[in-house]
């Protein structure tokens, strides 16, 4: 419809009533109960009007899709198209029920997925390759051909590889694409080139380091249908009704099934609405609440001692002189550092615990050992002197006893009655689940909150089918390596690379007074810098500032903190920034080249690694779908890049570049080690595997044939329904049973396999010097870090109307909001500041400022400035987003490397701290 015509039409004045105005009397042409109207079937031919419209939306072709951006929902949709254009999408709603006693998973989907048919044709869609003409960010673009763009990019890529070394190239695929099909292209090309790439979960701040401490695995837990059988569910910093929309029904159904649902969150939100109990914790004080929960469990001995003795390090001995775990090397010259002891009740002596890294027994079975949980003893050291020891249990208990609910109440605002009842609900439930949301680790204390929650689950023996901690289960899709990583890549820490590249230390120093940091965790800014320097030098996690960045689906300017500072420090100093994207996001606005990619429904894709449910979805575009503009799939784009780079390399006479940072077998007999060769001249052939992998469809077919967890399904099976069911192999540490929800740690709890931790158990004691110094050797509470220089806590929970910045600017979703960013204020806070509903505001601190309107929310705690996150910065005045007022901050607890399982890897990386800044607000002119 023409807009002007429509608006004119609204003034259309028929015979009777005008819009608005007072209540008008209405004559009744019929009374109640009387039949009137055209009625009958004779006058009903007109009904075909809507029937035809319906058939129109059903189209003439049908495909399958999911929406593979940084959302873990992974929902199968049917996509209808007519004359080569998508008309509508509708959930497949065809997942089989796995067990008649558990609600099925249909009809997975949400408000974002359902508008993608609009989004793909929205005016921010990229249609042609664009080259920046003015200064970066000026918005001056020139349309160029693919060839032109590729040739120029290749020149500059080869330039930097030659001049600045292989590590100077970053080829990073962000969380805008997490599916195994579309993500494979950028991963494969980066791996062949030896380019840097960031660990996405860490770059976006989604690491669960508390879970890593306890289990050696960051993401553990359940398929979300497990909620249904739970009798106690604690949702901690997770707004599932907003961020787990496809699975939230399991919560309301669990409630109807008799579960107690505890929702711990500072603001009354959509999840608190469906809970049985809401715990209004003050922002950032969750670790105190967690410790008070532990307090009750220890105080009342709500502890399953059998579980704790075998499955945790709680019986391990700790030296009372220096607080370190008692190790073999303390007792014997040349002793091992990874053999630990318990006090055995039977023999009244210190005995090595089986199943630790250094112990010859790779099982948790205790045999005749009877570890004592509490006590103090003396053992003879290697020098013959006595060493006084106690247990981890005693240490953890002593720490928890410092936090009675009556005392933490002042800090957390939570009444002791709630804590007492929650602890009992947890202990008595046959199956209890504690879900840790992504909000908690946005605070430095989050690591401790999560670790303490893990301890609460351990004390009450919640693991395996009895539930336990949930930090988002992921499946183990093996077999992808040859596709995505044919050669070793420069896999970099996400949070630390962003910290270094963006010079975040500057805004940290500006926002947090040294005395304040020191008081909060005993380490000041210099101390953090020192830890960072050490981490940079000793860990294998950082590869230096890149010069050329090829970015796929990563809106790093939107998500990084201290936005304008980050931009000046990192983006504006790059030699080249290329952005591959289906839409113009804020990062694309600041790029040198913007390359138009296909989006959700337009290329083949597969997604199966997400453990919320057991279904692996595939995207099959509807037959005859016409390309939108000059868009190409990521696979095509990577192949074009490979070809252009090879041409340029050959032109310069370069065949390959040796990369001695990585060694491979070499020599005639393969018994020598040589550097990996970055074979530029042969890049297209390597990329396409000699022509076997030429299209996005080839990639999906390859995945289906090579991922063992997908067997025995074929691509043809998937094409019939849009999904296949993963098999038993998909579980990491438990089998994925065909007719039961998935639960982590069955292999550990039932088969007694060791956990991938230093102790081989759920670990609740870390004697790394930083942990010892901060008093965090065992779970404890850390205060909120925000300084008191500005009056309000500023935190930004996940948005309902976007998957981060994806769909955040969708017209149809903006119409369901207020069209522009709003800050949520408690009405009292607003009143105190002279702010009324809808007023334009400036939100500011010593880091920066941004502008947004006020929305008054009785659900939001006074003294807080809250905002749903990930608006595009270009939706704000001056195109500066909400992160412009967030200081850089990094947690010393996450800068630890080289201690047992705390060594950089996908299960041990840190977070950019997002919720620890303080702000002020003022009303401004519109």
């Amino acid at each position: 419809m023409e807009r002007r015509e429509f608006l004119k039409g609204t003034a259309y004045c028929g015979l009777a009533l005008a819009f608005g105005g007072p209540l008008a009397p209405l004559p009744a042409f019929a009374r109640q109960g009387q039949k009137v109207g055209a009625g009958g079937t004779a006058g009903r031919a007109w009904e075909d009007i809507y029937r035809k419209e319906f058939l129109g939306t059903r189209g003439d072709a049908q495909g399958f899709a999911f929406h593979c951006s940084n959302c873990q929902g992974n929902c199968a949709w049917r996509v209808f198209a007519k004359d080569g254009k998508v008309t509508r999408e509708e959930q497949s709603a065809a997942y089989p029920q796995i067990n008649p006693k558990i609600p099925d998973a249909n009809p997975r989907g949400c408000n974002k997925g359902i508008v993608h048919s609009k989004q793909m044709h929205q005016a921010d869609r990229l249609l042609h390759p664009l080259k920046r003409m003015g200064r970066r960010g000026d918005g001056k673009w020139q349309r160029v051909s693919w060839q032109e763009a590729m040739d120029d990019i290749a020149v500059r890529v080869v330039d930097t590889l030659q001049k600045n070394g292989l590590g100077s190239l970053m080829l990073h695929c962000g969380t805008g694409i997490l599916s195994q099909g579309r993500r494979a292209g950028p991963l494969r090309l980066g791996s062949l080139l030896g380019a840097q790439r960031l660990y996405p979960a860490s770059a976006v701040g989604d690491m669960f380091t508390g879970a890593s401490l306890a289990y050696g695995i960051a993401t553990i837990g359940h398929s979300l249908d497990a909620w249904f059988e739970a009798k106690t569910i604690i949702l901690w910093g997770i707004n599932a009704a907003v961020t787990r929309i496809p699975d939230a029904h399991y919560l309301s159904e669990a409630r109807y099934n008799g579960a107690r649902i505890w929702c711990i969150t500072p603001e009354y939100n959509a999840t608190a609405k469906l809970a049985t109990d809401w715990v209004p914790v003050k922002p950032g004080t969750d670790s105190f609440l967690a410790m008070s929960l532990l307090h009750v469990l220890f105080r009342d001995n709500l502890i399953d001692e059998t579980f704790v003795r075998e499955q945790t390090d709680l019986p391990f001995l700790v030296r009372t002189d220096n607080g370190e775990l008692l190790r073999h090397r303390d007792l014997r010259d040349k002793g091992k550092a990874d053999v630990f002891y318990c006090w055995d009740e039977a023999t009244q002596s210190a005995q090595p615990m089986p199943g630790t890294k250094g112990h010859f027994t790779k099982s948790l079975r205790l045999g005749k050992l009877k570890p004592v949980l509490s006590g103090s003893w003396k053992v003879k050291g290697r020098d013959g002197k006595e060493i006084a020891v106690t247990t981890v249990f005693a240490k953890a208990r002593a720490e928890a006893m410092k936090f009675p609910p009556s005392m933490t109440r002042e800090t957390t605002g939570v009444h002791p009655e709630l804590v007492e009842r929650m602890a009992r609900d947890l202990a008595k439930a046959d199956k209890a689940i504690i879900n840790i949301g992504f909000s908690l680790h946005k605070y430095v204390s989050g690591t401790m909150t999560c670790w303490a929650a893990a301890l609460a689950c351990a004390l009450t023996a919640h693991a395996g089918e009895r539930g336990g901690l949930d930090t988002e289960n992921n499946w183990s899709l093996g077999g992808i390596g040859p596709l995505s990583s044919p050669k070793p890549a420069r896999f970099a820490s996400g949070f630390f690379s962003e910290w270094e590249n963006g010079g975040m230390e500057t805004t940290m120093r500006r926002h947090y007074p040294d005395a304040h940091l020191k008081a909060a965790f005993g380490i000041d800014a210099d101390g953090i810098k020192e830890l960072g320097d050490k981490f940079r030098q000793t860990s294998n996690a950082y590869f230096g500032k890149p010069r050329v960045v090829l970015l796929f689906a990563d809106n790093l300017l939107q998500r990084n903190k201290s936005e304008s500072h980050y931009r000046k420090t990192f983006i504006e100093n790059l030699d080249l920034l290329v952005n591959v994207n289906h839409r113009m996001d804020t990062t694309a606005l600041w790029s040198d080249y913007v390359l138009p990619a296909k989006s959700q429904y337009e290329s083949w894709d597969l997604r199966g690694e997400l453990g919320y449910h057991r279904f692996c979805n595939i995207t099959v575009p509807p037959k005859g779908l016409k390309p939108i503009g000059e868009t190409k799939s990521e696979w095509d784009i990577c192949l074009l890049l490979a070809e252009a780079i090879a041409r340029e390399a050959k032109k310069r006479g370069i065949a390959s570049i040796p990369d001695p940072d990585f060694l491979v077998q070499s020599g005639k007999d393969g018994n020598m080690a040589g550097p990996v060769l970055r074979d530029l001249a042969n890049l297209p052939d390597d990329f396409s595997d000699g022509g076997n992998l030429l299209t996005d469809e080839d990639v999906v077919r390859w995945l289906m044939q090579n991922v063992p967890a997908i067997a025995p399904w074929t691509p043809e099976d998937a094409m019939k329904r849009g999904f296949v069911t993963l098999n038993r192999e998909a579980g990491f540490n438990s089998p994925l049973h065909a007719n039961r929800p998935f639960h982590s740690f069955e292999n550990n709890v039932y088969l007694r396999q060791p956990y991938p931790t230093l102790s081989g158990r759920q670990q609740f004691y870390v004697d790394h010097p930083v942990y010892m110094k901060m008093g965090c050797a065992t779970p404890t509470a850390l205060p909120p870090l925000r300084p008191n220089t500005f009056p309000f806590a500023f935190y930004t929970p996940h948005a309902r109307h976007g998957i981060h910045s994806q769909w955040r600017t969708n017209t149809y979703l903006l119409r369901l909001q207020r069209g522009e960013p709003h800050v949520w204020l408690n009405p009292k806070t607003a009143r105190d500041k002279g702010i009324a509903e809808g007023d334009p505001l400036r939100v500011f601190n010593d880091v920066g400022e941004f502008f947004a309107r006020a929305k008054l929310m009785p659900a939001v705690p006074p003294g807080s400035v809250v905002m749903d996150h990930a608006w595009e910065p270009y939706q704000f005045r001056n195109k500066l987003g909400l992160n412009n007022a967030v200081a850089g901050m990094i947690s010393p607890l996450e800068l630890v490397d080289g201690w047992g399982h705390l060594t950089f890897n996908p299960n041990w990386d840190g977070n950019m701290i997002a919720f620890e800044s303080a702000v002020d607000i003022e009303r401004v002119a519109a």
Binding site: G21, A30, L274, R815, P858, Y874
Partner: protein, 334 residues
């Protein structure tokens, strides 16, 4: 009375306010042909002014006794419905010196304007979601108000339709509907509203809003189908209630009323009183809401004790497909 009546039950304890139904309806019916500003189905946050703004004060329905219509008014486009905003993508993203992305005309209201606002004082604030669509009433005020006799109720399913060939756009129906769920299409010059997706129903596919409801909050069945959720929840268990029954139109969309967590006293201790006041729920659903809530609580308590509850099992809905019973007359198996 029509021969049969198709009815919908919306469980407000399962609605998560995600708006998937709103958008399912939009892409099925109202993203075109002058309907762009309409939301035949939307979800509003209660308590609040709702959508269209202040619809509960806009009159309509029957006077007690059912002979006379109450007076009503037409909501205004920009102020009460909200203009379907377009956004400045081109200027913001592809032109030099672009301003921030904004609606090309200022938004004054919308279908979800008061999202999550509600009322009350922290920590005792409260809100819940109320999905709304045409109630396909048994005594439709709109039908009575139409001077053209263009509105009818289908015999076979009780769906209330505005004959798009007879309608002349007088809009008496818009004013007469106490739920303000009829919209005037300014381009077509006719009034339009939710058609209960009859083209889908006729093919055995449930309404877009119901079938695509991710919270699994909507049950659909014929009211005379005693195995269907509508009969069982409305008549047998009496936990599903019509909205504003005082208007006398006898809606056929029913709601399972919302439970809520306890309020806190001044010391932060739970009081045991639900935070959504009973008075307010009575004002929406009538006095039957109190026994309905009691039934829900009693049946949940059974499940908490590990006992069986048929009602809870029905509301849980183990199979999505079982939430819909659309067998049509004649095709229905004995």
């Amino acid at each position: 009375m029509t021969q049969r009546q198709l009815a919908m039950v919306i469980d407000l304890n399962k609605c998560i306010g995600c708006q998937t139904c709103t958008l399912a309806c939009k892409s099925q019916w109202t993203d075109r042909n002058g309907r762009d500003f309409m939301y035949w189905n939307h979800v509003e946050t209660k308590p609040g002014k709702g959508y269209p703004r202040d619809w509960e004060q806009a009159g309509g329905g029957w006077e007690a006794g059912g002979d006379k219509l109450k007076p009503g008014r037409l909501p205004r486009l920009a102020e009460d419905y909200g203009i379907p905003a377009d956004f400045s993508f081109e200027a913001t993203l592809f032109q030099e010196g672009g301003e921030p992305l904004r609606p090309t005309e200022a938004m004054q209201w919308g279908p979800n304007w008061e999202e999550d606002q509600g009322t009350g004082e922290f920590p005792n604030g409260h809100f819940f979601y109320l999905p709304r669509l045409c109630n396909h009433c048994t005594q439709p005020a709109c039908l009575a108000a139409c001077p053209r006799q263009a509105i009818s109720k289908r015999e076979e399913d009780g769906i209330v339709l505005i004959d798009q060939e007879r309608c002349r756009g007088y809009r008496y129906c818009v004013a007469a509907c106490p739920y303000k769920k009829i919209y005037f299409n300014p381009l077509a010059g006719r009034s339009e509203k939710c058609i209960f997706c009859y083209p889908r129903i006729e093919k055995g596919i449930p309404q877009a809003c119901a079938y695509q409801c991710v919270g699994r909050a909507r049950h659909v069945s014929y009211l005379d189908d005693k195995a269907g959720a509508a009969w069982r929840l409305v008549h047998e268990w009496k936990v599903a209630l019509p909205l504003h029954p005082e208007h006398g139109t006898q809606p056929n969309v029913y709601y399972v009323p919302p439970l809520s967590t306890s309020t806190f006293d001044a010391a932060g201790k739970p009081t045991g009183t639900p935070r959504i006041p009973d008075d307010y729920l009575v004002s929406l659903f009538g006095p039957a809401v109190q026994p309905a809530l009691e039934t829900l609580r009693r049946e949940i308590a059974k499940k908490e004790k590990g006992e069986a509850s048929e009602l809870m099992d029905m509301l849980i809905a183990y199979k999505h497909g079982d939430m819909f019973r659309l067998d049509r007359l004649g095709e229905q198996k004995p």
